[in-house]
Subunit: 352 residues, 4 copies
Amino acid sequence: MTPAIEVGVIGATGMVGQQFLRLLEGHPQFRPVWLAASERSEGRLYREAATWRLGGEPPSITEGARIEACTPGRGPRLVFSALDAAAADDLEPAFAAAGHLVVSNARSFRLMDDVPLLIPEINPDHLALIEVQRRARSWTGAIVTNPNCSTVVLAMALAPLRPFGIKAVLTTTLQAVSGAGYPGVPSFDIVGNVIPGIGGGEEEKIESEANKILGALADGRVTPHAAVVSAHTNRVPVIDGHTLTVSVSLDAATSVEEVVRAMRGWRGRPQELGLHSAPSAPLEVLDQPFRPQPRLDADRGRGMTVSIGRVRPCPVLGTKFVALGHNTVRGAAGAAILNAELMLAEGWLESR
Amino acid sequence: MTPAIEVGVIGATGMVGQQFLRLLEGHPQFRPVWLAASERSEGRLYREAATWRLGGEPPSITEGARIEACTPGRGPRLVFSALDAAAADDLEPAFAAAGHLVVSNARSFRLMDDVPLLIPEINPDHLALIEVQRRARSWTGAIVTNPNCSTVVLAMALAPLRPFGIKAVLTTTLQAVSGAGYPGVPSFDIVGNVIPGIGGGEEEKIESEANKILGALADGRVTPHAAVVSAHTNRVPVIDGHTLTVSVSLDAATSVEEVVRAMRGWRGRPQELGLHSAPSAPLEVLDQPFRPQPRLDADRGRGMTVSIGRVRPCPVLGTKFVALGHNTVRGAAGAAILNAELMLAEGWLESR
Amino acid sequence: MTPAIEVGVIGATGMVGQQFLRLLEGHPQFRPVWLAASERSEGRLYREAATWRLGGEPPSITEGARIEACTPGRGPRLVFSALDAAAADDLEPAFAAAGHLVVSNARSFRLMDDVPLLIPEINPDHLALIEVQRRARSWTGAIVTNPNCSTVVLAMALAPLRPFGIKAVLTTTLQAVSGAGYPGVPSFDIVGNVIPGIGGGEEEKIESEANKILGALADGRVTPHAAVVSAHTNRVPVIDGHTLTVSVSLDAATSVEEVVRAMRGWRGRPQELGLHSAPSAPLEVLDQPFRPQPRLDADRGRGMTVSIGRVRPCPVLGTKFVALGHNTVRGAAGAAILNAELMLAEGWLESR
Amino acid sequence: MTPAIEVGVIGATGMVGQQFLRLLEGHPQFRPVWLAASERSEGRLYREAATWRLGGEPPSITEGARIEACTPGRGPRLVFSALDAAAADDLEPAFAAAGHLVVSNARSFRLMDDVPLLIPEINPDHLALIEVQRRARSWTGAIVTNPNCSTVVLAMALAPLRPFGIKAVLTTTLQAVSGAGYPGVPSFDIVGNVIPGIGGGEEEKIESEANKILGALADGRVTPHAAVVSAHTNRVPVIDGHTLTVSVSLDAATSVEEVVRAMRGWRGRPQELGLHSAPSAPLEVLDQPFRPQPRLDADRGRGMTVSIGRVRPCPVLGTKFVALGHNTVRGAAGAAILNAELMLAEGWLESR
């Protein structure tokens, strides 16, 4: 059966664009029909213009496909954006103004007051910002974003702890090289090495985005969660999978068992609705020592599960653990697709 | 000129033993003359019994040398111990009882009340515990230890901050594979991967050893420093050099500039005495972003300098930075040799 | 539907054993019911005795399973052997004598005159050696082997070139660390490094096994192919996938196009019979430059396809190319399972 | 004592340029005084314009130095060229025409009939081509080149075998990422992976350059050696050090012992003249199995020694072995500096 809803991908030739196409292959609801990229590729065959970098064969949707210009107003109503921030700054609003629903992985609009920064398990209600956005900007379309690839892991690990009162969070990231895009990190810098610090304000993004996601929507405005967040970021020679060590201070004295129980029991709207890309449980708490590990665990739940391990008391902040997520699936293209699935289920894709 | 003082190395064939021999090659004061190892190697040529794993040629002292049995009472008065903890448990006290000065890298006795856990720049006065030890145990020799390879980096980074009052420390380590000895970590586990957690109580060692080192000696007893320390340990695919992200809470509001100034200005007894293995400054604070990195910075000061970078405010604990040290030099054999150099300079090697 | 044929795995806890269990999960014909290992694990729960090292969840067949002693005569008639050579030397003949069909990955009996060394696409007729073997050894069972993990890649790449007359072959291997088992290669030796030479007579194995596989069976005896083979082996820091550069001298002047056509058109009995583990084509010739690569291509055909690339003239031997195969699937457990599927299809699993 | 001869480096900010500066630090004869790079860096402080990528501190000569424009006629007579081929195509002849002695690592002119392609141990007499070059081109300066980083390893390993008659050579390279310059190979492509093929005609370069180097100069012209050479190139996740497996066919039946003896006994002009950068022996034959390895052996002879191992019979071509060299020292900047040292010793640096 042919999936009913036609979708486009803008920035379709880059790494995140390729992840979109790979994840949309065989999707039951979305059918990619429009692959757009920068003007200099327009009209070329996708398979000639783009080197497929993800292993195996390129998805069948790329066969014979030609690259379209990234022109607002053309292409399907629903477009996934794999643009980098520089391109997204101008193009995404233009697409939204032209009536497109832009489900974006770019960082450009994540922190705008009227743009949903969505993790469907955590803040599905923030989709209501679309109405605010449309009123404020006179758009018929909209922009919906997913968080930075490190933030998503942190926010999901923290979400079930909200009932205990999250006061402070200190995290150190060990980030995979695929998170830097392509060509990304030169191998001379990272083979047998570790690089402290990620460019582009990564630490600030983690520190601010997490609070917006965990925040409460009321009267058309998100009040950010009030946790103090501090991040140490690092690049490590890993292909896929961001590992975070996390120490967290909770309002109430909370035992390791309570934390584990809250994480294991946590479910959200995607699980309730049985969304196609939703893992059966958003978090998996591993009992084995020395886990989670990126090579062994990043693919859990087809890359949509965040794995937790080593939950134990932290002498300084109270509780500590390790969290791991697949940075180009749950942290990028998979996140956006889950966002679109939620939008579909909740009626946001219907004509205005 | 032949160095005057004959020394032995017990556990001379393993990785740390090899580091001892490499660092003692050409040492101006110590001349290794006695290479001891487990009984099953006794009498064999060193170069046949041990595969040299450190690159380049094995040091000249191994040429023609035969392995001796690890028998207390034989060999020189000063012995460096590269034994693993299981062997050290019994052998080191036996050597000390037989009159040897055992300068040990093993963890067995580090936390004993009457055993110096020494970083010559920080607590040279703790050597006075030797007297306590001798009285308590009726030894004519002694055991002097250096800290765990992660602790030494942390303790050195913290030492110049003592005047500001260190209340709490949260650290995440990214540890090199050489820290696990040989054969150590299987490559199947770590190539393109990260392993959270280090076995053998590594986190507890970091949390307790640092306070002992930073503690004050009075009346023959060390009162540990009272900082609360929490560690997240991880193994990364790096050969040499442990990287630590560190967040620290200080009593007084302290600016980044004050922290950097204190680190840069810090000198200790080894610098004062001009000890052979002492770097000109124990800490080097790098201004470049994305530094220190193990491959570029672990060898600073011939592996004896701890490099610091990215000093900046921490929203949660006040100050944060990255610290890096060479785990098999400053964190093992080089540490022990510097300990012996201090003992020599301060008169502890003279006959009883 | 429950698969009809019960099978056992001996050596079930090691790396190859785990690959067997992973690949048998959901197999349409074989149902693993008997997991045997060394005596000291007997009676223990599989999940407690063995650390699962292959990523994701251990297969359901391990749930609640207890480890059996490796006792000939017990367990199903068909057993897959993941034993190491030392254990296989004695145990495999004992199992065969006790009536078991031992489909083995061990090297112990590969070069015995009366033991099939099988690649089902190449020499399915060699299964007839089972009769010779039974007569010679008075066994009611049998031993059937698959080749070494490098040889299988080489032999498959060469098989379609037999019509051109293979005179000489020079290959250099770049072998993944999983080929060394577990714990295998110490990470200290291989991170950021390359090791020339693989222990255990790897080069000799490649040089002799390939000719046996490509040889012709007549009158109950295999006449080895007469190609002169020379191998340079190397270990590289790759998890899965052995890469081989191959230069080959053919009797007739043969163009690159003819070689590629022969490789692309090659099919064997497994494809004819539609065996479950058989890839649709045993070889895939990639047109892209810089391919095949282990990380991108080892999983083709669920690890059962050998990928070829860079076919071009060799100034010295005539033709050169790159070949890549998954060393623990097509080069170990997957190879043995395909062997058993062939045996089933050809009637060798029926009661004597 | 200040070294007497002032030198310049063009392309001083890139990876090879940095290697030049590192190796010239403390050089007894050459004093770098002129650091030139592309126009957009002109006038900037070297330390601000260039990120130092080689570990440790940048050499003292970069302190306070400003970048000069790459203008022929300015700067010292002797200039080392670290330009890439595109820039070298035009600039190097312009410098030579303006009277500079350009000692170049670029590939642009290596195969020109009148340009020396020099390995001082092998073909020091080829320097006489300078006269041919000057006559043909009416230059007062000259261009002298060193080979590609893989060729140099191969040619040095083969040089002592010339007396046995080298007929054919088949080599597979495992090349380090530093050979690709900076940013070079994206880490996403190479971490835990191997890439077959090196762009830029690497295999052809190896196949043709080796014969020119081993060729004989007579009547102002080099007759290339007549060996047939075939190369398989590969990139591996190693930082420094190219490993080559080599099979060679010699005219006469030659034993492994004869080959080893010839390699061990080989010396050239640099050893005779005691040139500063010359290793005591150009080749070192290691007896240990599993050697040479890049991480352990690339630095032998301060990166100027080529290490050989595993010399053994090759069933196909007669003799096989492994060769390893440091690709950015003996294969780039160190090679050029040794060339200049030879030119100095042989009188080529004196005024015309």
